[in-house]
Symmetry: D2
Subunit: 213 residues, 4 copies
């Protein structure tokens, strides 16, 4: 049995829902074959979210840690390739904090690559009939903050653990009149299940998924 | 019992599916309360599609005619407000025809407004939890062609009939690696059911749904 | 000498500039060969703008009337093909008026086509090295209002007059931090000069410039 | 006198022009006050471009190295914040090479931050009346390759040198009928001059320019 820790965020910026948490719950209720999924809801707060994540990882000793986040405006499931060591918030987080140009981990490297076979993950979602892409920036808000904190934890304390971050489109009910892409939670959960199954592959695929700029 | 004629198109431009026909079938299988829905699949061919539509309307004597079409790139359910009297095809249709700057109906008016309470229809989709908007152009390909032909038929032969056109986003399986918005067929069908229920309202809402340009 | 009436709008929605008026002035200062260009600045007010336009047309007896408007978010010079008989304002105009679902001209036809060789106009801008496209909706705010009023005036009082509407991207200084496309006023003026030269062609081109939806 | 090395790329992917080289030449012809600008045209070839850059840097001993690249689809001047150690090409470069998932510098760190006051650079462009933004991904093609190679060279051989990468929108003549944003070369050159003037500031601004995802 593969132990998976699957995190989502609480709603932020005045929203009532966050697709990342809705999807984490659905996947935990019906996990992929051979996987045991523990869902954890993180605060949308710099520092606190990373602390909650570290506590959960140390407590549950997972084989795979996948963090989910919301990416309003994106049309597909975005597998993040790289976490950067900077917090730069355009809006305050749920505790009113708005760090600008501060490192996630003082003294840490500029960036970490995801510890996932990211291209196999993208391919697995597409094979499940759902749109996915590789992303080269997770932004500089709490999502990237948690992603970087996770990769730092894995690099310094738990090298064999698989870990990464996936951005999900908004839920349809979040963009009723906003002309933004969306995917229903059940659809996104189906994609995340396929992705988790690929997350333990020993090697990645070598398919071009880069961007020109 | 309200009699509804619901049309979708066959796939075009090399695609394997067309969301409009997938959704028309789903809605016909589970129609809204008090409605009897006859699904008709139209050819994606200038002229022929309009002829198939006229035959179906005359044969089934519907109270409401709703034509569905595919709008790859759009993120939401788009209720079309106006049909224009011009064919201007960027690509050949399924019979290889590519009319440029030809009227749908020679001598017909420049445009017809939809014979639907379009704003109530938009509102009904949103109340069902799904994103919708009012659109002021159905393009100049076979979708607009059929829409104009429908409105001309209603204006000249069947004034009391309700009629209009709705564009649907691509299906997820159509845009696996294309960074385009999508909605699953079942989700879009749920939206169309809500919309049909509003289509027979005697008056429309007066809410601003216009565009600046 | 061809007499051209070229209109632009005053700024609206809190902006300091409107590219349409900046460009109208630049073109009038340096008109295309063989053309005399009278610039007129219209109020961004439903009703009043149409009245100002009618007064200017009757007073200057032009061969060509071209109205310019601002289309923030569009990347290129957009030649409008069709004006629709509806006002539907999302925001108040400069006099605080916000009509919803009212005809521009009660009893007028649903739409008018532009009285311009629109495809030759698009081609002329591109030949001048600048991006252009044909647009099938001028929206439902004051731009479309003026466009429809112009076409109604020409249809009912001045059939031989050429007339149409062109949307311009925002100015760079309007979108400093907004991630929106823009074109400098001098660049847009260069495009409008090329377009005006094509506006008097006796026949249009027959090139596909339609849209799928 | 501040010595600036300003690079642009040769055209690629079948294009006739590359805005980065057009702009580099214009800026070198009319440099900002107090600056001496040496323009260098780089091949759009993995490996070779980095070698050409290293040769130019070692030969001209610059105070500031700014590399320019083309970003078709972007609407504004994009100051890149971070270079990543991966080549992942969707299309072949000008020598037919298409590396996938290879490091720019084997054994190098996952990423380098730009050695520029990036927020002061963004602010300087906006103060000059032109749109700019901070970007958190320079892609994974030759642009990012050169950017990473530059930052590695500076980190390992020339720590006091300022260095960074800026993406420019397409030129208008490149997107005549493609519905993409563009900026004329002279306009972009004006922006780059303002940016260069800010590039030697001893400290950066602390303004939020991050992204949510």
């Amino acid at each position: 049995m593969t132990r998976v820790l699957l995190t989502g965020f609480e709603p932020f910026d005045g929203a009532a829902l966050n697709p990342s948490w809705e999807v984490a719950r659905l996947v935990a209720e019906q996990p992929p074959a051979g996987m045991e999924v523990t869902p954890v809801r993180l605060s949308c707060v710099f520092g606190r979210a990373a602390e909650e994540l570290r506590t959960a990882v140390r407590g549950s000793d997972p084989d795979v840690v996948l963090c989910l986040g919301q990416a309003t405006g994106r049309p597909d499931v975005g597998v993040e390739r790289i976490a950067v060591n900077v917090d730069d918030a355009r809006i305050p987080d749920n505790a009113g904090r708005q760090p600008v140009d501060r490192p996630v981990v003082p003294g840490g490297p500029a960036a970490y690559f995801a510890a996932l076979p990211v291209k196999a993950c993208v391919a697995a979602v597409r094979e499940a009939g759902l749109p996915a892409s590789l992303s080269h920036s997770a932004g500089t808000f709490v999502c990237n903050h948690v992603f970087y904190a996770l990769m730092h934890l894995i690099a310094t304390e738990r090298p064999p653990t698989r870990g990464g971050f996936v951005h999900l489109p908004a839920l349809p009910e979040q963009v009723l009149d906003r002309a933004q892409p969306s995917l229903p939670a059940a659809t996104a959960a189906h994609a995340v299940r396929a992705l988790l199954t690929a997350s333990t592959r020993p090697t990645d695929l070598r398919t071009p998924e880069g961007t020109a700029h």
